[in-house]
């Protein structure tokens, strides 16, 4: 069933189709519609889940952790300061290996107070042990919400999926809501390996001594290592059932290119538009979309980018004191490529705090990359006249 809906409602429908059992969330612009829609669905019976009202995001995640520990399929959503406020609990979910799924509507952090999109909220949760998936369209948002549960529950890892504030959250477009029975075939009920159960009491999250802590982290890392392969099988399944797939990394018109744009989120769409125009004009320009940021898809990116002359990374985020985060991570991922295969990487910072990224902005990125020199490749800001 196709419907015109905003990205926030795509999230809610995804959670509904995934048959989530517990939701604990706290509203925040621009995520609020997710919470509203889900509570509506819980109230009218569309989604027979337990909706736990909480007084903060920290508590929301704490409630999710408890719920997930009992074996319930658990979902939440947040944004910006809400997500950052959850930070401590995100570690508990990650280290506790709880397959919670969360939608984060990417929004800048204050001050200056800003409700528009950028990725600093989610990227600053990099090391909490959550898988991170960035979406480009409302359809991808809905599909990823469902897929995230399968991924999470197979590997006991929490998954965070991101959608750009307003550009997806508040933008309505046609979205296919998959049939429930087919989703059920794709996503069976959760089977949990460790369960908080009053009838079989165990201590959870208790003290772990130096003799075992590293093993737990190793196991967590081991599960993270499995993600690319597992995600691939999940996507293959999805493709078989619904005829759509996205990939942790996607190359678009990248064949024989000598300049590749690297994008995430909605910027990708506009960049596709620019790439189409450039290709039409005979230029060898393509793009590579990174959907998965954690675990970092080093292998796929090496394959996608090896041998290209120039790579321009579009970062809608900034690690103050360093640079755009995707660019920096990409640099280290490609460092081990043989010299002749290693592209020059140009890191552009743009679109922060919701600054619009138009085709003209992407054109500027391309031109600057084309003219770029060996010495000036990092921390290139677009649209700031200093």
């Amino acid at each position: 069933m196709k419907k015109v809906m905003v990205g926030n409602h795509a999230v809610a429908w995804g959670a509904q189709r995934a048959r989530v059992e517990v939701i604990a969330a706290y509203p925040i612009t621009p995520q609020t519609q997710i919470v509203e829609k889900l509570s509506e669905m819980c109230a009218d019976g569309t989604l027979p889940a337990r909706y736990i009202k909480v007084e903060s995001e920290h508590s929301a995640m704490a409630a999710c952790i408890g719920a997930s520990a009992t074996g319930a399929r658990t979902f939440t959503a947040s944004s910006s300061h809400g997500l950052v406020y959850m930070h401590e609990m995100l570690h508990w979910a990650g280290g506790g290996r709880l397959p919670i799924v969360m939608a984060d509507v990417n929004r800048a952090l204050g001050p200056g107070w800003n409700i528009w999109t950028d990725q600093n909220d989610s990227l600053s949760q990099r090391d909490t042990g959550w898988v991170q998936l960035y979406c480009e369209t409302n359809q991808e948002v809905l599909d990823t919400t469902i897929q995230a549960f399968r991924l999470a529950e197979m590997l006991d890892l929490p998954v965070m999926l991101m959608l750009d504030g307003f550009y997806l959250s508040h933008t309505a477009e046609a979205v296919d809501i998959p049939d429930q029975d087919v989703v059920d075939e794709f996503l069976p009920p959760r089977v949990s390996r460790h369960k908080l159960d009053v009838n079989d009491p165990h201590a959870f999250g208790a003290l772990v001594r130096p003799d075992s802590y590293m093993e737990m982290r190793w196991l967590q890392q081991e599960a993270m290592r499995q993600v690319p392969r597992v995600l691939e099988t999940i996507e293959a399944d999805w493709n078989r059932l619904f005829g759509r797939s996205y990939g942790a990394v996607e190359s678009y018109r990248a064949e024989d290119a000598d300049l590749l744009l690297v994008t995430t989120g909605t910027v990708t769409s506009t960049a596709r538009y620019v790439v189409d125009q450039r290709r039409a004009a005979g230029e060898k320009i393509g793009l590579v979309k990174i959907k998965m940021f954690r675990p970092f898809p080093t292998e796929q990116l090496r394959m996608a980018l090896a041998g290209v002359d120039k790579v321009a990374v579009l970062d809608r985020n900034i690690s103050p004191g360093h640079g755009g985060i995707f660019a920096e991570e990409l640099r280290s991922a490609l460092y081990d490529l043989p010299n002749e295969d290693r592209p020059q990487i140009y890191g552009f910072v743009l679109g922060l705090g919701g600054r619009d990224i138009t085709p003209a902005v992407i054109d500027e990125v391309i031109e600057r990359t084309k003219q770029g020199t060996e010495s000036e490749r990092e921390d290139l800001w677009v649209g700031v006249n200093s």
């Binding site: 280290g95 506790g96 290996r97 529950e153 197979m154 590997l155 006991d156 069976p188 089977v191 390996r193 460790h194 079989d200 009491p201 165990h202 201590a203 959870f204 999250g205 208790a206 003290l207 772990v208 075992s212 093993e215 737990m216 190793w218 196991l219 967590q220 081991e222 599960a223 499995q226 597992v230 099988t233």
Partner: protein
């Protein structure tokens, strides 16, 4: 799903999450302890403070649970007249109440009054005691005599009360005015007492000593209890006491309580600082007089109940402190004023109060009537021969026994505290003493042996425990009083104490209607909800919730409410520290 185990979930035996591999039951933390908690009911300070020996905590607990009738019966097990004490008792229980450290003592007297009125409205409950053949005489129908008769009747005895006055009640009828204790209340309370057991016979107009004589009494009855009170007003012993217009306060009250409305003139001076003085002052105000109370010490030393002093002030009495009457003056044989000497407070005297010392300064208070109320004493001359007395009354032992076999005493006639509650407690002690004596005689037992079975409930004895027919409860609280340090006040929300409703001052002094109209039943239940239940487990589950080793569990039935799994209790003492009401203590492990 086949691929669910595709990743490693353990390495070197370490699981991927920090979850205990087995249940917590393998960790026998019990081996760590050397001390362990013990559920151990203790004495609530209110129970300790009540001279009647009421299980206040116990009935508050029942009332809190909405078990109103059981609460009433528990109260009636100890107190024959809660509707009376709820009105006139000086409630030392509330002074002792631990809740005063939080947000005001529980309004115990007001709750007692509500339950008392309920009791008076319903027929007496059977006690289930077997009838006994022995007959007991009680002399005097004040609170001491009525309490003795009440409990003896409940123990199964046939009791006859001899009362010199024409109506029963003692000072409750003769001394305490109606605006504090309406006569229908007193009448209903006495009616309920009379209906106990095989019935209590009250013979009014019978002054023992003349008719019948003491020896007639002791030969006809198996035991006798003397409860004749203290009715002799102390003389002021100053010049002018014989002037017209000078009257003993007690005589004045007796007349007013009998319905007289004497004219007192414009100015009335009351001499004294006790309850009699306050009642004289307030009664005089109701007769239209302007009243000055002359007292030789200060307000802090006044023996009257604090509320009575406040009421007297509110109703318009003037209190003149450090004023010691030295002469009553008047031309033509009628009083016109009281000459007082200004006093100052000196060193503490035997009673612990600072002694007033003369300053030499004199002043005169105008008076048309002077009412003297500086204390009453027992009439020791009329007592049976060769009983041991002290200056202030008969000497009695713990259970009311005197130096004469089968002769007991209690109340104001003895040398103990003189309040209604003390009289009720003394009457109960004498009843138990008589029961113990008569049973010893009947069974040829040694009195001392059976006395060991008696358990003192703090400030008094418990009739329920004496008879072993405690209608409701468990083991008696032991004689350890729960103090503030034993409580955990963090578990209690602040809820302000509810005050009794009162008539407006104008309405109060216009007539002799009851001034304090008390609390409603709902308010009383709300007050019961404020009670901490000091020292007694209410099964609130705090210990169970706080125990870090989940060692505490419910017991389906049995003596205790909870079971402590000693294999797991590590003796940390958290349960004891958290118990809101000090019903748990740590004790050495037996192992």
């Amino acid at each position: 799903m086949p691929d669910i185990l595709m990743h490693k979930t353990a390495v070197r035996g370490v699981p991927q999450v920090s979850v205990s591999q087995t249940s917590t039951l393998v960790t026998r933390t019990g081996s760590w302890k050397s001390i362990r908690p013990e559920y151990h009911d203790r004495m609530a300070p209110c129970n300790q403070g009540c001279p009647v020996g009421i299980d206040i905590e116990g009935y508050m607990n029942l009332l809190r649970e909405g078990r109103v009738e059981e609460a009433r019966d528990l109260l009636l097990a100890e107190n024959p007249m809660p509707s009376v004490t709820g009105r006139v008792c000086h409630h030392p229980c509330e002074n002792a109440c631990n809740r005063r450290f939080l947000d005001g003592a529980v309004a115990i007297h007001a709750v007692e009054r509500v339950l008392g009125d309920l009791a008076d409205a319903s027929p007496a409950a059977a006690t289930g005691a077997l009838p006994r053949v022995e007959r007991v005489a009680v002399v005097g129908s004040g609170p001491a005599g009525l309490a003795c008769a009440y409990h003896l009747a409940r123990f199964g005895y046939r009791v006859t009360v001899f009362e010199a006055a024409l109506q029963a009640g003692g000072m409750l009828r003769l001394g305490i005015p109606e605006y504090r204790l309406p006569r229908p209340v007193l009448d209903r309370a006495i009616a309920r007492i009379v209906a106990q057991g095989q019935g209590v016979e009250i013979r009014c107009g019978a002054r023992v000593g003349s008719d019948p004589t003491w020896s007639e009494l002791t030969s006809t009855f198996n035991a006798v209890c003397v409860a004749t009170g203290a009715h002799v007003s102390r003389a002021l012993d100053v010049p002018g006491e014989a002037l017209r217009g000078v009257q003993r306060g007690l005589d004045f009250l007796r007349d007013v309580n009998a319905g007289a409305r004497p004219s007192l003139g414009r100015h009335v001076v009351v001499v004294g600082g006790g309850n009699t003085a306050m009642d004289c002052a307030r009664a005089a105000l109701r007769l239209g007089a302007a009243v000055t109370v002359a007292y030789r010490r200060t307000r802090d030393e006044m023996p009257a109940i604090a509320e009575e002093v406040e009421e007297a002030l509110r109703e318009g009495a003037t209190l003149s402190f450090l004023a010691n009457p030295v002469e009553i003056v008047g031309p033509a044989g009628s009083v016109s004023g009281v000459v007082c000497e200004r006093m100052a407070l000196g060193e503490p005297d035997a009673s612990g109060r600072r002694r007033p010392v003369p300053t030499g300064e004199r002043f005169t208070i105008a008076a048309d009537t002077v009412l003297t109320a500086i204390g009453e004493s027992a009439e020791l001359d009329g007592l049976p021969a060769d009983v041991t007395t002290s200056a202030s009354g008969m000497r009695v032992e713990a259970l009311g026994g005197t130096n004469r076999v089968a002769l007991f005493a209690g109340g104001d006639v003895t040398d103990l505290e003189r309040t209604v509650a003390d009289a009720l407690g003394a009457g109960k002690r004498a009843a138990i003493g008589i029961d113990r004596h008569l049973r010893a005689v009947a069974n040829n037992e040694n009195e001392a042996t059976s006395a060991d079975a008696l358990r003192f409930g703090g400030g008094n004895v418990s009739a329920a425990q004496w008879t072993g027919r405690d209608p409701i409860r468990r083991v008696a609280p032991v004689n350890e009083v729960v103090g503030l340090d034993d409580l955990n006040l963090h578990h209690f929300a602040r809820v302000p104490r509810q005050d009794d409703a009162h008539l407006s001052t104008g309405a109060a002094i216009a007539a002799f209607d009851e001034v304090n109209t008390g609390l409603t039943k709902d308010q009383a239940i709300a007050e019961a909800n404020r009670c901490f239940n000091c020292g007694v487990c209410t099964q609130c589950d705090v210990c169970l919730i706080y125990c870090p080793d989940a060692a505490i569990s419910h017991v389906a039935d049995g003596e205790a409410n909870y079971d402590v799994a000693l294999d797991y209790c590590k003796g940390c003492g958290i349960c004891v520290a958290e118990c809101p009401r000090g019903a748990l203590t740590m004790t050495r492990d037996r192992a």
